[in-house]
Amino acid sequence: MFDWRWDFTWDILPRLIVATGNTLLAAGLGYAIAVVLGLVLALAQRTPSRALTLVVREAIEFVRSTPLVLQIFFVFYVGPQFGLRLSPWTAGMIAIGLHYAAYLSEVYRGGLESVPKGQWEAATSLNLSTSRTYFRVILPQALPPSLAGMGNYLVGIFKDTPMLSVIGVAELMHTANAIGSETYRFLEPYTLVGIIFLALSLPTAAGIRLFEAWVRRKLGMV
């Protein structure tokens, strides 16, 4: 019943390891987009323009309330109808980056709101410009309380990359599926995928906690 074949395991391992590279690349690129775009979305909600705030809020709510897999399909398959023909990689990165940007913007929002009002007032009393106030005073203080949430979503985006297999991005899950349909053996490839995800997720979570402590120390905020 339980028929695990080691020779088959060793045969497919190199292919899965190569695919792991793609998974890491997808998670990294998607996260980089999300980190930057999320900040833009968070700051866009703090301008004096009520209309902009409202539009951005609704867009974030929309993204957060619909499934990622639907968003991936939408960008890839519906995009061409509007003349937007994208490769699986590009479509996937846009979809997953946008999706996580919506979540990260909420993390940043919490971080920004945790900075005491007195910090803004001190910046005004020193006549610092708005951009200087954000980049030199407010954001550095909003970072440490945001790191835990940012770390959770880093692990989250990593675990969500298999969804990109639905549009044919050759990441880990896609490769395991391909092996399965070629050989009719699923136990080994799927088990290996699970082990690889576990082996990468756990140290990442621990690394984030260390990084958080390091940032606080670095900023002198212990």
Binding site: A122, T124, N127, L128, S129, R136, Q141
Partner: protein, 273 residues
Amino acid sequence: MDAQDLSGFPLRLEGDTVPMVSFRKVTKSYGALVVLDSLDLDIDEGEMVSVIGPSGSGKTTVLRMLMTLETINGGVIYVDGEPLTHMPRGDRLVPADSRHMRRIRAKIGMCFQQFNLFPHMTALENCMEGPVHVLGLPKKEARERSEELLKMVGMAEKRDQHPSRLSGGQQQRVAIARAMAMRPKVMLFDEVTSALDPEVIGEVTNVIRKLVAEHHLTMLMVTHQMGFAKDISDRVCFFYGGRIEEQGPPEQLFANPKRERTQQFLSAVKEAV
């Protein structure tokens, strides 16, 4: 800001003795709650004015409006002869835009009850931030200026420490140096000793005494330290219910208050001590 008729307010204050700060019929309210009711207050150059009064009397609001941390609902505030809350357009005053406010605000420095030092910068970096990035001084000059001020407040040895490593009194002294590094003409002290342990209040008040003695600054101070206010002020204003109930030289106001509310307040404060 509500639309109001500003035709009675001059575009700028002119004459031989222009006050450094002038509140003209300034009103501040939050909805139906009137915090300041048509306040008129002139502060001369080099004058040290203390503001006392019960909490909720609007005294802190006076400082916060002058630092543009609060908007006003009526009247005009002038600084060094120029309107702060408004700006001239043609022959009339219109509400100031942020650029105008920034220019006038440069003449004002402020210290806060909670110090509000930037926690991720050292004492020296806190002092240098404004001179380098707002005034555009070369780093070397800003550093020299900041180090000199930190020396004046007795914090030269702690210049490379972050605020989390400093006591409240030390943080407040750094905050005073930071504000002074911008070379303001007017300094505002908002209950700067209220958050301090009793034994370190003296180190902060001594620094302010030193400022009064050595610098030709206009100062406006909200305080609960009656003895301190009596010692160093040229004038004391007693606020009550959003208005100046009584004002005068400290000897007179503390020893011989004319209004009943002032008498009540001063005797209540005395009992508390």
